[in-house]
């Protein structure tokens, strides 16, 4: 697939704070590209720079091979976006909101087009209701309709599940998958939740304190041979001793009193359990967690990250 977005050495400095620091990545046509990082990692700043809302201190952003700022209007015609909250003109109806942003996108607006779009997001029967009367989920759906009304090639969704209930989160997830599979859109989606990214993205980047930590295919980054298991036993001291002597198992984390953190191939878990129980160590619980998740959480919790993953970072 052709490279559709190229971000090169992008930086943004607010006074003394480096919100984004020498960030480079690329997105291919048809990707659902996950943008993962904890709150304050620089995800929103990067996305806002990609939408010309924030001017970079340094670096270059290209869409379709063209420099963003030199071809701003041409490029923005091909991009739809939801940035954090789905805000609209509260004093206007869903129809008016959609109509206004459609006109601003430079497309020919007809009543049928607007109603079809509202119908697609399930708001056709509320077309004349003011958006201030909408629930968060409905506002998000209206935001999606606005983002899609001009049939963009790329959708940029910044934390699109923020504030949504579980059903809304599931709907958003399904929509992203549908956008890729049925409509062939390229989607860039940010989140601070790995589980969200894991379910929708085929490629992703992890950023932390404005810097890239990792980038690659989600399937490779979530390789099952990198599973971390949190083991809770009746005798953690004895279990630690036994596990450290077993081949193919690495102790990854020693600061947790309750769980022993081990890294191993997922297929070796049954055999490991058998060996522990045979040695008289009772298993109270086993919590498999992928090394990427462990790694990401270690960033979030500001603890030591998993060694096995660091070898795979870009």
């Amino acid at each position: 697939m052709a490279e559709i977005v190229a971000v090169n050495h992008l930086s943004k400095q607010f006074n003394e704070v480096h919100a984004v620091n020498d960030l480079s990545f690329s997105v291919n046509e048809g990707d659902v590209y996950g943008f993962l990082g904890q709150n304050g990692a620089g995800k929103s700043t990067t996305i806002r720079m990609m939408l010309t809302l924030i001017r970079p201190t340094a670096g270059e952003i290209k869409f379709f091979g063209k420099e963003l700022y030199a071809n701003r209007n041409e490029i923005l015609k091909k991009i739809g976006a939801i940035i954090e909250r789905p805000d609209h003109y509260k004093y206007l109806s869903a129809y008016d909101n959609l109509s206004i942003f459609a006109k601003m996108s430079g497309i020919k607006v007809t009543r049928k087009l607007i109603m079809d779009q509202l119908d697609m997001v399930g708001l056709a029967d509320r077309s004349n209701s003011k958006s201030k009367t909408f629930s968060q989920g409905m506002k998000q759906r209206l935001g999606i309709a606005i983002a899609l009304i001009h049939n963009p090639s790329i959708l940029i969704l910044d934390e699109p599940t923020n504030g949504l209930d579980p059903q809304g989160i599931a709907d958003m997830r399904n929509l992203i998958i549908k956008l890729k599979k049925e409509m062939g859109k390229t989607v860039i989606v940010s989140s601070h939740l790995l589980s969200e990214i894991e379910l929708v993205a085929n490629r992703m980047i992890i950023i932390h304190k404005g810097k890239k930590i990792a980038e690659g295919d989600v399937s490779e980054m979530l390789d099952p041979s990198n599973t971390v298991v949190l083991v809770e036993t009746t005798d953690n001291t004895k279990a630690t001793s036994l596990l450290s002597a077993m081949p193919g198992i690495h102790l990854t984390h020693t600061t947790d009193d309750r769980y022993i953190h081990i890294s191993l191939d997922k297929n070796d878990i049954p055999q490991t359990v058998t060996q522990l129980t045979s040695a008289g160590v009772g298993i109270l619980s086993l919590r498999p967690r992928h090394s990427l998740e462990e790694y990401f959480l270690s960033l979030t919790n500001n603890t030591t990250h998993v060694e096995t993953f660091t070898n795979r970072t870009v």
């Binding site: 806002r48 209007n73 976006a81 805000d87 609209h88 003109y89 206007l92």
Partner: protein, 297 residues
Amino acid sequence: MWKLLQIELYKISKKPRTYIAFIAITAIVFVFQFAFKADGKAYLDFMAQDVTDSFVFDKSKAINGYFMCYIILNTLLVQVPILVALVAGDAVSGEANMGTLRLLLTKPVSRTQIILVKFIASFLFTVSLLVWMAVTALFLSMAIFGVDDMIIFRSKGDVSQILQITKDDVMWRYFAAFAYAAVALTVIASLALLLSVFAENSIGPIIATVCIVIVCTVISNINVPIIDKYAKPYLFTSYLVGWKGFFYINSTDDGETLKGTMENWPAVRNSLLNLLAYIAVFLSATIIAFRRKDILS
């Protein structure tokens, strides 16, 4: 651009706060008209007490539609900047507060276009306010009080004057005065728009605009030579009341007013040019600031 302007005007027309200004103007005008209908003669006696010895006029005809409009404009044009700031101060900051600014700026429209459209929309709002003032304060007063020669009371230094303008020489002066007022109020609108760029809620720029207008107006009214020389020429508020110049008519040595004349057209013209310069400065500053602004809201 035209499509953007239509959108902006539509948004303004749908905001409830837009109509506060029209309601306020209507209420104030009606209070004036009621008061003068009920007891206008007392006002006239009070105003004319210093000049009745030297100037004779028919008080029963003095309170007419033209006179009423002049009295109302004298009071109202001091308050209208607040009403203009209500809309112009909300133009960008209101969008930032609502969260629509970031959505607006991801559309293929330049930031300069957005500011120009918001400026034009604020100007058209100002003009529509003045048209409404003309309808209520001038035409409605003409219907209620009738039409006759217009009497103006003027303090020039320590001297009180009465100017009389014949009824067939008044209307063009009102058109000119309203046009001047439109320019003067557009200065306020462009100032409010500039302040609006730096804020993320509407209250700040609206209050800041009103405060600046009040402070500058107070300074403009201090009659001390050093302020006359070094401050007043640079304050836009010094030129806001320049519309009155259209009603200061020339007269002969015998005191007879000369139809179609103005006492000091060059001063009015210079005031107008100063106001236009202020609009250019405020608008340019707004465009520059907005183009450089990082949208963090």
